[in-house]
């Protein structure tokens, strides 16, 4: 009889252990208290412990930051949100995700002041139907970087002032054998090839997509011709079709190229001895158009938003406000070399020499434009996939510029109609 009870006792215990795994109390690691929130951002945006303590003192909200690989964030958000759960109260919102996330109803609106809108021009990327869904914290303004030392070795004294002078400078670098491939241009089938294509098309022609979201064929043809010519003339490394996009960008820091149109983070990384072999040699230039310096710039920024499924929306809103404040942007720059999205903070950092050669960055940040006439589309991922695969094919010389334009126009029109 006693043995029997022991047996039942063991089975009962097993069931309790098994069922405890299905408990609802620790769902997503969230605490039921509204004074505690979770934050999912990449490690390059994670605030330090002392900053978080300051936030807790100021707001009474404890923020538990989960540094997450950028590549994993979208799938984590998708899976949790599809199950009507918050992946975290505050989530990373890349500029390219905002159209999809908003359409899927996964993001809560965020309040921004008039001053925020004026001070952070890239906020326009996160505006859908008049509402803002995320606040940018990491600047992604594109600028032209030129290696002064290499240009001097090629006998070029002046920085390029338009696209044709850029072309002449690349030829001079090539002819004098200063560098094998003067221009760093990502051609691998991944997001960096898309953002680079969009940047070149927008800066060269001021338009990429028509008002009905279809591809502007003239702009695309011009950009594909630039890539085609770059590969054929030996300005762009043909091996970039297999090289990771960030590695291609970093070619500037490794003295593998003399020119790059890339993210604003290079204003800092090119002058850091740990990451650059060309310290003091790189000059940022405002990206040129055929008529001289472009009146518009383009930014692909990282932002934070609030999950629609968060149970602590008020506390999450406090964090977003704090995280995008001028004070915190300055601290993030000091601790993580993060480039602020606020023009006022950029100006301060340039004035106190924290960012060298930053005047161009401030100017570019003031004129950030939106390459999508109707905001980032909900099917951006499909559009991006079509673009980077076409760019890759032009890089591999499988398609001519004209064929690539026709193919991409057909693909994008198909996606838009879906």
């Amino acid at each position: 009889m006693f043995k029997k009870w022991i047996k039942y006792g063991i089975f009962g215990l097993l069931f309790v252990i098994l069922l405890s795994g299905c408990s609802n109390s620790s769902k997503n690691g969230q605490n039921n208290s509204s004074k505690e929130i979770t934050v999912m951002v990449p490690d390059w945006g994670a605030p330090s412990k002392s900053m978080l303590k300051d936030f807790e003192k100021e707001s009474g909200v404890k923020a538990n930051v989960q540094p997450t690989s950028w590549d994993d964030i979208k799938s984590k958000v998708s899976i949790a949100s599809n199950g009507k759960q918050a992946p975290a109260d505050v989530i990373e919102v890349d500029w390219s995700w905002v159209g999809e996330f908003e359409k899927a109803n996964w993001l809560e609106k965020v309040d921004v002041s008039k001053n925020d809108i004026k001070d952070m021009p890239s906020l326009s990327t996160f505006k859908v139907d008049g509402n803002y869904y995320a606040v940018p914290y990491s600047n992604g303004v594109r600028m032209l970087y030129a290696n002064k030392k290499m240009l001097s070795e090629a006998g070029v004294d002046q920085m390029p002032s338009d696209w044709s002078s850029l072309d002449k400078d690349m030829k001079a670098l090539k002819d004098k054998d200063v560098v094998k491939y003067p221009l760093q241009f990502p051609l691998r089938a991944e997001e960096n090839a898309t953002t680079t294509f969009l940047t070149y098309a927008y800066l060269r022609n001021g338009i990429i997509f028509n008002k009905d979201n279809t591809l502007n064929k003239a702009s695309a043809l011009d950009t594909f011709k630039f890539i085609e010519n770059g590969v054929k003339s030996g300005y762009i490394d043909p091996n970039s079709v297999s090289t990771d996009g960030m590695d291609t960008y970093n070619g500037l820091n490794n003295a593998k190229g003399a020119f790059l149109i890339g993210p604003s983070s290079f204003t800092v990384s090119t002058n850091n001895k740990k990451t650059s072999k060309v310290v003091g040699q790189i000059q940022p230039i405002k990206v040129t158009s055929d008529k001289g310096a472009s009146s518009k710039s383009v930014a692909f920024t990282e932002a934070v938003g609030i999950s629609k499924f968060s149970k602590n929306k008020k506390a999450a809103a406090k964090f977003v406000k704090w995280y995008s404040s001028a004070k915190v942007q300055k601290q993030l720059n000091k601790n993580l070399n993060n480039i602020p999205t606020r023009t006022s903070v950029l100006q301060q950092l340039v004035d106190d020499k924290s960012i060298k050669n930053g005047e161009v960055l401030v100017d570019s940040n003031k004129v950030v434009g939106m390459p999508f006439p109707n905001g980032v589309p909900q099917n951006y991922s499909k559009i991006s996939s079509a673009i980077f695969n076409t760019v890759n094919k032009v890089g591999r010389q499988k398609l001519t510029a004209q064929q690539a334009t026709d193919y991409l126009a057909k693909e994008i029109n198909k996606i838009v109609k879906e």
């Binding site: 047996k7 089975f11 097993l14 069931f15 098994l18 979208k74 799938s75 998708s78 949100s81 599809n82 159209g99 999809e100 359409k103 899927a104 109803n105 691998r188 089938a189 991944e190 490394d237 043909p238 091996n239 079709v241 297999s242 990771d244 909900q378 099917n379 991922s381 499909k382 996939s385 980077f388 695969n389 890759n392 591999r396």
Partner: protein
């Protein structure tokens, strides 16, 4: 009678946790995925989560990117199964012969199998990197080629490269399986065959190989599933390039890049059915040999 009933209750109670875990983690997702596959379940179109029958299957099967991915997977599968099987037997036999360094060699051989697929992919990317990759450098320096070969940019070469990587990763485990089988075959069989005048090759083909059939079945299943599930290496080497994509890369893009869970679930079912058909023939042949 009462004792038998009690035993059944105890057996059922002991099995219940396992049934619940497998039911919850295997069967429930399989059923849920099937129900997703019959819906227009693009997460960015939240309002249109309606039943569409087998429309997603039709869309997947008529999609040119899916067909490209399927062809790529079949090419990789054929190369991996044929070359992987030959290599596994070869390595297994070599390890069985080696007596002095047998244990050290076995430990060395198992290393590639223990490496995570992504690490494998990155390592091989450096080897096959076009232009200044390790292999190109070696070939150019040894004057076997004049100019670097673009290993990854050509689709056919890329598939061969991927097959080589999969073989390199899978052969160790398969060879160890064969080695274990070989070590259970008494030497007396081959010795008797030799006394009857049979050659070593005849001894291998007529005695050793038939006795290896049970483990060869497991080896074939392992090689097939590894070749069907290739993902990390493709991403590490060529990103999301559509003409180099395999079925899993296509499926990942559909689900996690395009957030189309309906199409993604239909693709998963098609992949599962294709794997199931191949697996069915292997298992059927294995059991036939065992019964025979």
């Amino acid at each position: 009678m009462g004792k038998i009933r009690n035993k059944n209750i105890i057996a059922f109670a002991l099995l219940l946790p396992c049934i619940l875990i497998i039911g919850g983690t295997v069967f429930y997702p399989i059923i849920t995925t099937f129900s997703y596959s019959l819906r227009n379940m693009n997460l960015t179109e939240g309002q249109q989560n309606n039943f569409v029958g087998f429309e997603n299957y039709r869309k997947v099967l008529t999609n040119s990117e899916f067909r490209d991915a399927l062809i790529n997977n079949i090419a990789i599968l054929i190369l991996v199964v044929i070359l992987g099987l030959i290599m596994s037997i070869f390595v297994g036999v070599i390890l069985n012969k080696s007596t002095k360094f047998g244990s050290i060699l076995t430990a060395i051989v198992i290393i590639p199998w223990a490496l995570p697929p992504l690490v494998n992919g990155i390592m091989w990317k450096f080897i096959f990197f076009p232009g200044y990759g390790l292999l190109n450098n070696l070939l150019v320096k040894s004057h076997l080629i004049n100019a670097p070969i673009s290993w990854i940019t050509s689709r056919s070469l890329f598939l061969i490269v991927i097959a080589i990587i999969i073989i390199w990763r899978s052969v160790p485990f398969c060879a160890i399986l064969i080695l274990a089988n070989l070590q259970n075959i008494p030497d007396t069989y081959a010795e008797s065959f030799g006394l009857e005048g049979g050659s070593k090759w005849q001894s291998f083909t007529k005695i050793t190989l038939p006795l290896l059939l049970p483990s060869l079945g497991v080896v074939l299943i392992n090689l097939t599933t590894t070749a069907m599930n290739v993902f990390d290496e493709v991403i590490a080497l060529s990103g999301y390039q559509t003409d180099n994509a395999t079925l899993l890369v296509y499926n990942y893009s559909t689900v996690f890049n395009f957030l189309d869970f309906g199409m993604g679930s239909a693709t998963s079912y098609i992949i599962m059915l294709l794997s199931g058909i191949v697996g069915y023939f292997y298992v059927k042949n294995m059991t036939r040999d065992i019964k025979g």
